[in-house]
């Protein structure tokens, strides 16, 4: 029999500290579906998805029961649709998106990622058409999520596409103005996008991946926070290196839960097991917050001086614990700072401690980037593009993944309140200084060359 305190501590993580498997994501390669006839292509895609994922929901339920671990979401990620739908017009691509939406509904998943384009090295007409179709797709489908990779460390940054996305994100927000611009929350703009990311909205199935693959996203800010609280009660004067060691230990245990669930779901479905992504993905629930962890370590508010350093410590310790726990760690694996989805971050914005500029600095040392950031509806497309370019440059020039999920809220100004409800959370709208001052830079277009890999000072 395992030690009783080991059994009880595992139980405590689940029952009291919100440990769950945030997502089991089935990656599906769609290359075999390609056809020049749109109807045939859509039929092929629908059949491929519904046959591959027919057992996903039931298998997850069985495994969840077996281990007593909640599996919150079951999701799908498909080959970037740009690759499948090259040559189709924007309105035809919308039909493909509706097929994805229908197939996802049929197999009982809430989100499907992969309505995506990869344009870091240059763009095809297919990529442009896909981006042009986004306002229609994200306003008329329920489950489809999109992403565009606009830069990599090897290829540099495609500023033409960032400029186009600046316009399109505003179009998406206006197309969903009845939902306060919510459509923009389903689009991620990436630098160095991982091809095995299980988290939405940025998941897609990498073109070098297997036919089908199971990826796991585990979360656990609540577990890390409670573990740290207990440690600080026992050793109130502990140093930062001791705190890092404690976080690593918790990250190890959380990652292990993900690997166990992933391996078993994959084995039962007869598909390959891919990766575990241990990302501290907060929810608006009190106690399930990255900001609260930062405050626990010694900051009165998120965003005050020291925030970047503490976040770096947290992000690094999470990765180290995860890597020791599993040889299959991948995806993003770190700490997310989605403003609207984290009550503590949203509160810091409201009190004025957390600004866009400080958040951008913090994203240089953690996962993702300017995530779920609500901005005024009157932001200019060029300023929006420039804000994205800044975040993408952090990723490209530091050889890491960064991303933006910026939501312009139509008809609202900085300081006003926006709420999407549920896991998407709420916040006051963040001011973006210098609106309209980046027009000439963005209008130049072209490509920011790939960064030098030596002389890195």
């Amino acid at each position: 029999m395992p030690r009783t305190d080991d059994i009880l501590s595992t139980l405590r993580m689940v029952k009291q500290e919100n440990l769950d498997v945030r997502t089991v994501t089935l990656g599906i390669n769609l290359f075999r579906c390609i056809d020049r006839n749109l109807n045939q292509l859509c039929d092929n895609i629908y059949d491929r998805i519904t046959s591959s994922a027919k057992d996903l929901h039931a298998t997850c339920e069985t495994v969840s029961t077996r281990y007593g671990i909640p599996i919150v979401n079951k999701r799908l990620a498909v080959t970037p649709i740009q690759r499948i739908g090259e040559g189709f017009a924007p309105e035809e691509l919308v039909e493909i998106a509706r097929t994805l939406d229908k197939a996802a509904a049929e197999v009982g998943v809430d989100l499907i990622g992969g309505y995506s384009a990869l344009v870091h090295g240059g763009h095809t007409q297919g990529a442009i058409n896909l981006i042009e179709s986004l306002p229609e797709v994200l306003s008329t489908t329920n489950r489809v999520c999109s992403s565009v990779n606009v830069g990599t460390t090897k290829a540099g940054i495609n500023m033409n596409m960032i400029s186009l996305l600046g316009k399109k994100i505003l179009d998406i927000a206006h197309a969903t103005s009845d939902r306060q611009g919510f459509g923009a929350a389903k689009l991620v703009v990436f630098a160095n996008a991982p091809e095995d990311n299980p988290f939405m909205a940025g998941a897609f199935h990498g073109s070098a991946g297997a036919d089908t693959v199971i990826h796991i996203g585990v979360s656990g800010p609540g577990v890390v926070k409670r573990g740290l609280e207990r440690f600080l009660e026992a050793v109130p004067t502990c140093s930062l290196d001791e705190i890092a060691a404690e976080i690593k230990s918790t990250a190890f245990r959380v990652t292990r839960v993900g690997e166990l669930i992933g391996r078993e779901v994959a084995a039962r479905m007869g598909v390959r097991f891919g990766i575990v992504d241990l990302s501290l993905a907060p929810t608006p629930k009190i106690g399930d917050s990255i900001g609260e962890i930062l405050e626990l370590i010694g900051l009165k508010h998120v965003g005050v001086p020291g925030s970047t350093a503490v976040l770096a410590l947290l992000n690094d310790a999470v990765k180290k614990g995860g890597v020791f726990a599993s040889s299959a760690v991948g995806g993003l694996s770190g700490a997310f700072v989605p403003v609207m989805e984290d009550a503590s971050l949203a509160a810091a914005v409201q009190k004025g401690y957390l600004t866009v500029e400080k958040l951008e600095a913090m994203t240089a040392v953690c996962s993702v980037g300017l995530d779920m950031v609500p901005v005024p509806g009157d932001i200019s497309p060029e300023t929006l593009a420039a804000l994205m370019a800044d975040e993408i440059a952090i990723g490209v020039f530091n050889n890491k993944t960064t991303a933006t999920r910026i939501v312009p809220v139509p008809g609202k100004k900085a300081g006003e309140f926006v709420s999407f409800g549920g896991l998407f959370g709420e916040s006051v709208i963040m001011p973006v200084p210098g609106n309209g001052c980046s027009h000439d830079f963005v209008s130049r277009g072209g490509h920011i060359p790939a960064p030098i890999q030596s002389l890195r000072n």
Binding site: M1, P2, R3, T4, D6, I7, L8, S9, T10, L11, M13, V14, K15, T62, T65, R66, Y67, G68, I69, F252, R253, R256, V257, E259, L260, R263, E264, A267, R268, G270, F324, S326, S327
Partner: protein
């Protein structure tokens, strides 16, 4: 030739008691095969599986151990496995689950839960239960669950049973505890075995 016996010993715990027991056994020519010992509320208990020379009589073993451990007041009981009806359950036919119950101390709880579990032919292979200083109650049962049991149904039944008493019950396969507490790599059954085992 040798003969195996199962022996239990119990006494108020004192330093030196295990040394006396094992010395007494050595004098009887015993070879220990398996031992489990615990101290509960300051009482020492041990159950052991030992081989003795074939000619050694059970009454001699008990008398010698009692006599040798007289300073400790040890009670000794002996069973001959050949004289008992033993349950046949292969390790290959069962999976190990842990049932954890936490909440207020409710009289009769273990009785009710064990009755429900026995209906399914599930063996309770280990049990830990303790009232905490705050009068709450923690119980962990190790269950040998035969393949084919509807774990979800059992879990739902136990949850309804405990909900009435305001208790939280959790049923989890043992792998989750190895995964979260043991640094060794996770090892699952080969895919084929998993499919064969859960084919419905």
């Amino acid at each position: 030739m040798s003969k195996r016996y199962i022996i239990t010993l119990m006494a108020a715990n004192r330093v030196g008691i295990l040394s006396a027991v094992t010395t007494g056994l050595a004098e009887l020519g015993a070879n220990l095969m398996e031992v489990s010992q615990t101290v509960l509320n300051r009482f020492f208990t041990i159950i052991l599986d030992a081989e003795f020379p074939e000619h050694r009589k059970p009454e001699v073993i008990v008398a010698h151990l009692k006599d040798f451990c007289r300073p400790y007041g040890v009670e000794v009981d002996l069973k001959d496995p050949e004289q008992e009806i033993l349950q046949e359950m292969s390790e290959d036919d069962v999976e190990r689950f842990f049932l954890t119950v936490t909440g207020n101390d409710e009289p009769g709880l273990i009785r009710q839960i064990s009755a429900r579990i026995s209906q399914e032919g599930i063996d309770i292979s280990d049990l830990y239960a303790k009232r905490q200083p705050d009068l709450s109650f923690v119980m962990v049962m190790e269950l040998s669950v035969p393949y084919g049991i509807d774990v979800l149904q059992l879990k739902n039944d136990l949850e309804s049973l405990c909900l009435k008493e305001g208790l939280i019950v959790t049923l989890q396969h043992e792998n989750i505890f190895a995964a979260t507490n043991d640094p060794r790599p996770i090892r699952l059954l080969p895919v084929k075995s998993v499919h064969a085992m859960y084919a419905e």
